[in-house]
């Protein structure tokens, strides 16, 4: 060993010890994805081994030296059917198994805590419901389903957390969602994986998974004062949405209280659910879907309000149930000390969790 130059030796040592062959499994879905992955690796290895064995075996057995005269064979329907049906069967197993995981990853549970993520060239802006903003960082509590609502301000980006085995494209003009539940604390990379221009490779950030207690502390420490919904309320007033959307009987626009997740009937007879995507559409392209009984008079706010503004508005509308006044005074900071006694589940902090009470 002495012959090897110390520099090279250090280098080798560093490599051999820092040689991850396998990413950490840090979310609830990760072991499930990996199980499928290993199943597929196994099947592939077996398939590959069979192919290689056949080729090498026949090459040895029937090389010209050993077997100078070839025997002409037409084929064999039985054999061919075998290697049609067996791979097909295996592939179908993979398909079904994969589809189950896919639906799980892209169907957030009802109690998930919602965090908004806005991608732009070349950074990630994370908006917590409590009003905390982060750039290229994402703080989350362990053991709590987190739903990310992703949108891009310009081009396609893609939010990928390898340790959680989840990834979702952030595209302009539309919300995409993904969810996960971290199972261990720590810091993990997240990447922008969709090519998005010059500094694509700099759109890297870190997910910090914390214990619920640490998370609470972090929330308290990094609040900017107002929650998203409160920002939304301010916008609602300054954009004079309330000129039309107010509870007065002569209001020109529909009452927005409890509109979130309600079934709406449109003027062309179709019905839609007023989810995030619908609300966003209603603000930016109001005339695309006209609610029954109203005139298409709402102006578009395209260009007047940023993606973050839209998010705040939506967050505000989400919380517009009859007792929203009380809600609005709920400041995350003030709430924190209370919850320490007893029901300490961080879920109760998240505004998103409050909608559970709704049917």
């Amino acid at each position: 060993m002495d012959h090897i130059s110390p520099v090279l030796w250090q280098f080798l040592q560093k490599w051999l010890t820092h040689f991850p062959l396998f990413p950490p499994e840090a979310s609830k879905i990760a072991p499930q994805v990996d199980a499928l992955f290993y199943f597929m690796v196994l099947v592939s290895l077996i398939g590959l081994t069979i192919v290689i064995l056949l080729i090498v075996g026949f090459s040895i057995l029937y090389s010209q030296k050993r077997h100078p005269q070839a025997v002409q064979i037409e084929g064999s329907t039985l054999l061919e059917a075998t290697w049609t049906i067996i791979p097909l069967g295996l592939f179908l197993v993979m398909f079904v198994w994969g589809a189950l995981i896919y639906f799980r990853v892209y169907t957030p549970p009802a109690n998930a805590m919602n965090i908004y993520v806005v991608g732009k060239q070349w950074m990630w802006k994370v908006e917590h419901p409590g009003g905390q903003h982060e750039i290229d960082m994402l703080h989350i509590p362990v053991g709590q389903p987190i739903q990310l609502t992703l949108i891009s301000q310009d081009v396609f980006h893609s939010f990928s957390i390898p340790a959680f085995r989840v990834k979702r494209e952030a595209i302009p003009g539309r919300y995409n969602t993904v969810w996960f539940e971290a199972t261990r604390t720590g810091t993990f990379h997240f990447f922008c994986t969709q090519y998005c221009g010059t500094d694509h490779s700099k759109m890297i950030g870190e997910v910090v998974v914390m214990t619920p207690d640490d998370y609470k502390k972090w929330l308290a420490g990094s609040t900017s004062g107002d929650s998203l919904a409160q920002n939304g309320e301010r916008l609602f007033a300054s954009l004079s949405c309330n000129a039309c959307h107010n509870a007065r009987p002569d209001a020109r626009g529909p009452n927005l209280a409890n509109v979130y997740n309600a079934r709406l009937t449109l003027s062309d007879g179709q019905t839609v659910t007023a989810d995030d995507a619908y609300l966003r559409q209603a603000i930016l392209n109001p005339s695309q879907h006209i609610t029954q009984g109203y005139a298409p008079i709402m102006p578009t706010y395209q260009g007047q309000v940023s993606e973050e503004g839209v998010i705040a508005l939506i967050e505000y509308i989400k919380h517009l149930d009859s007792d929203y006044r009380i809600q609005q005074t709920l400041n995350t900071t003030e709430l924190l000390p209370d919850s320490e006694g007893g029901k300490s589940a961080p879920a109760s902090l998240a505004p998103a969790a409050q909608k559970e009470t709704k049917p």
């Binding site: 090459s59 010209q64 025997v71 084929g75 221009g197």
Partner: protein, 556 residues
């Protein structure tokens, strides 16, 4: 591997290359530039795509050098982006799509079916000119500063957020697309209408079948790419269009239209290569391809099903989950015909009489590497695992395994196999066997680590990456150097053999195809008289009788 070859070279002391052949028929530059002879056009193509391959290869070298270190040491991020974009564009549209069809296919299809030329010789020449025009536009783009969209032109990045040469690249690909359409169209017409008497569909060599299938894809898929690029160009110039949400468009629509072509395009890239493998495996095991009909139909099945799976490139983009389900299922179906082919080739060896000349070595390389590449394709086609693996180096490794490990191997296999027919001279066997082994080793070193990188989550198209990925990247770069040598070697010794190679004679491999029954290099009209076909493809007994009869004649 030494004495036990089936090469039946003529007596080298007396052997001569026929004085009249397609290479010597006319002389002068103009006779080449205005030729309508499919073999000459194939030669022109061969030279031009080799040129582009080495440009693309040099760019690949730059990519690998940059990725040696985690930081952007060699070049700035936007230079890197241009480099991989041009690498992808050149390799896909200017090398791999025309590789086997426009060179080997062009050279062989008329001969294999016993015709004097393709049905539309002037269109064939036109398609080469279109290719060259497109090529010049691509070179111009590079010289003028390049383009950094990635070869997939994702909107709205390509339409509004870049100020590089998107338009000239788009138009270059548009023109190259029409070159490819005309080639495909020509093949289909030729195969339908120009077959020699007695050459029924089920007597066609499998190479013809697979090129036929690829041609269907070219004819039906490429126009969609063309119109998509036109729309991108319009959107870029007029600042209004159907792809950018700011103007009310839908970027996912672009993805649909782009992949409607570009998924079938990957089968355009692989099918002709599969045809080469069928010919080579049969010849060097001196045995009829196992299950001829299954192999023939699997080509057509790939071509047809290949059209129904395009959205597997969009699983995480926010297409409907139900659509993802359907496209994933169909992806599984399209993988099966490839499996059929692999096993049928393997069983062609069974009870054969196998020798291991260079084309056969490359063919073995193809079978192993394509199986790995294809099976990892299934990982990506499975929705659940694709979420994790998409847009990482796993994908990069997948497609290099199928495109480089698959198609490029097949291309080299075919070039070596038909080199004696094309030039009348043999390539040097020993050194070329060495080159085949070197490429195989280099290839695995380069691209296998990338699977692990992808599993670890390293995103593709990254100029700089977190240091924990470095070790595997160093492996990969080292492998690429070996690989580069592996590709440089054939270039050198094949050129050498043009002058010094042994004279090959009509049928050095004792193969059965019609192309081997004429002189090497062939006449301009291919055959002294149009053959009448009375035997199946790969009928070695027929060949033996034929040879015996000829020997008798010579004795008499």
């Amino acid at each position: 591997m030494s004495a036990a070859t089936i090469i039946s070279l003529p007596d080298q002391s007396t052997a001569r290359i026929p004085k009249v052949n397609f290479l010597t028929k006319e002389n002068g530059l103009l006779s080449w530039l205005l030729t309508t002879d499919h073999k000459r056009i194939a030669t022109l193509y061969l030279i031009s795509i080799t040129f582009f391959f080495f440009i693309g290869g040099a760019l690949a070298g730059l990519i690998r050098l940059e990725l040696l270190t985690p930081q952007t040491t060699l070049m700035a991020a936007d230079t890197y982006n241009k480099v991989f974009t041009m690498h992808g564009v050149i390799m896909v549209f200017f090398f791999l799509v025309p590789s086997v069809p426009a060179t080997i296919g062009n050279f062989l299809i008329p001969m294999m079916i016993g015709a004097k030329d393709l049905a539309l010789p002037r269109i064939n020449l036109l398609s080469w000119y279109l290719y060259m025009i497109a090529g010049c536009m691509a070179i111009y783009t590079m010289a003028a500063g390049g383009v950094d969209t990635g070869w997939t032109f994702t909107t709205p990045l390509s339409t509004h957020y870049l100020n590089t040469h998107v338009i000239s690249t788009g138009l270059a690909i548009f023109v190259a697309g029409f070159s490819s359409i005309f080639t495909g169209l020509n093949f289909i017409v030729t195969i339908h209408k120009m077959r020699a008497p007695g050459m029924t569909w089920f007597r066609l060599p499998l190479f013809v079948w697979s090129n036929y299938a690829a041609s269907i894809l070219m004819v039906l898929g490429t126009p969609v790419l063309a119109i998509t690029l036109v729309l991108v160009v319009l959107e870029r110039t007029m600042h209004i269009g159907v792809f950018d949400p700011t103007y009310g468009g839908d970027p996912i629509l672009f993805q649909h239209l782009f992949w409607f072509y570009s998924h079938p395009a990957v089968y355009i890239m692989i099918l002709p290569g599969m045809g080469v493998i069928s010919e080579v495996v049969s010849t060097f095991s001196r045995k009829r391809v196992f299950g001829y009909t299954a192999v023939a139909f699997s080509s057509v099945a790939i071509a047809i099903f290949g059209f129904f799976v395009w959205a597997h490139h969009m699983f995480i983009m926010g297409i409907s989950n139900y659509a993802a389900l359907v496209f994933s299922l169909l992806t599984m179906l399209v993988a099966v015909p490839s499996a059929i082919k692999i096993f049928n080739w393997a069983f062609t060896l069974y009870k054969g009489s196998i020798t291991f000349e260079t084309p056969m070595l490359y063919a073995f390389g193809f079978m192993g590497l394509f199986t790995i590449g294809g099976l990892t394709g299934v990982f990506l086609g499975t929705t659940g695992t694709d979420i994790h693996l998409t847009e990482t180096y796993f994908v990069v490794a997948h497609f290099h395994f199928v495109m480089v490990g698959g198609m490029l191997m097949a291309f080299l296999s075919g070039i070596h196999f038909w080199w004696p027919k094309w030039t009348g001279r043999m390539y040097p066997e020993k050194i070329s066997q060495l080159a085949a082994v070197v490429t195989y080793i280099g290839f695995n070193f380069t691209f296998f680590p990338q699977f692990i990188l992808g599993m670890l989550g390293m995103p593709r198209r990254y100029a700089a990456y977190p240091p924990e990925f470095q070790a595997l990247n160093v492996f990969s770069t080292a492998g690429a150097t070996i690989l580069g040598v592996g590709y440089l070697l054939p270039m050198l010794y094949l050129t050498w053999s043009l002058k010094y190679g042994e004279i090959a004679g009509d049928n050095p491999w004792q193969a059965t195809g019609l192309e081997w029954q004429t002189q090497s290099p062939p006449l301009t009209e291919n055959f002294a008289e149009i053959p009448i076909v009375d035997h199946e493809a790969y009928d070695y007994e027929w060949l033996e009788k034929q040879t015996a009869a000829r020997q008798q004649q010579e004795v008499a």
